[in-house]
Point group: C2
Chain length 119, copies 2
DNA sequence: ACTATAGGGGAAAAATTTATCCCTATATGA
DNA sequence: TCATATAGGGATAAATTTTTCCCCTATAGT
């Protein structure tokens, strides 16, 4: 990452987890990679609302943080595959927990999030 | 919140969960409120790196999303107490899972997050 | 009269994150 | 010959989030 004016807060486990997880698309990237969608173009199709650029950037950060690994096949046209590292896999239960919570309260959450939009 | 140029992504549970959780200080606010630190001034002391202003803003969002409730005592000087709603409490296991993961891999995470800073 | 306390909010600046646009390369198929 | 697929990166613009600064309330204490 670039230079930061405001120092990172890394006081507790929550901060550390947040630091590697909280980019707009990172959790979804981890999720889809875990589901077996390994190639950048697949991931882009799975997450069409994200620009190609950010996905690349966030994938690189996930890689730098050791959550995913990247294999570049020296072929043309280029082929790249991402997969979760063992470390990355340890996050899956956590992401599941988060996703299940969101699924469970979907109706409520959607109403409240959207409800506030016209306030 | 204000008007948004870029629409929210609320496709799945993960998105919904992210929407209510991913402000810079929200998870910590929930955590400390759950630990019994209810008053704004306590929370500010617990999270000294956050400006007073943002904490107010994020607390209000948590309230709008139904995760915390706010009681204003009509006394002088004013007294306010936040607490988790029943709905907010359902998030605690999820936040725990996240925090435990971060604690468990603290050394590794810290090295990788800070390691990349001088790259 | 001041000051401290406890809680809050508006406006604008700063910081950060995301999006947009345009560029590279090569092989295949129309 | 030209478009498409595939992966990626630089520069810049836009959007969003967070910080900073200053203001307000009312009472109690000195």
């Amino acid at each position: 990452m670039k230079d930061r004016k405001i120092p990172l807060n890394l006081n507790c486990g929550l901060d550390l987890a947040g630091e590697v997880l909280f980019g707009k698309w990172k959790i979804r990237l981890l999720w889809f990679i875990n589901e077996g969608h390994k190639r950048p173009s697949e991931l882009q199709r799975k997450i069409p609302d994200a620009s190609r650029r950010v996905l690349n950037i966030q994938l690189k950060e996930l890689e730098e943080h050791g959550l995913v690994s990247k294999v570049i096949y020296p072929v043309v046209p280029p082929k790249v595959e991402y997969s979760l590292t063992d470390f990355g896999k340890t996050l899956i239960p956590v992401i599941s927990a988060l996703g299940n919570w969101g699924d469970q309260y979907e109706v409520l959450l959607r109403a409240r999030i959207l409800g506030e939009m016209d306030t």
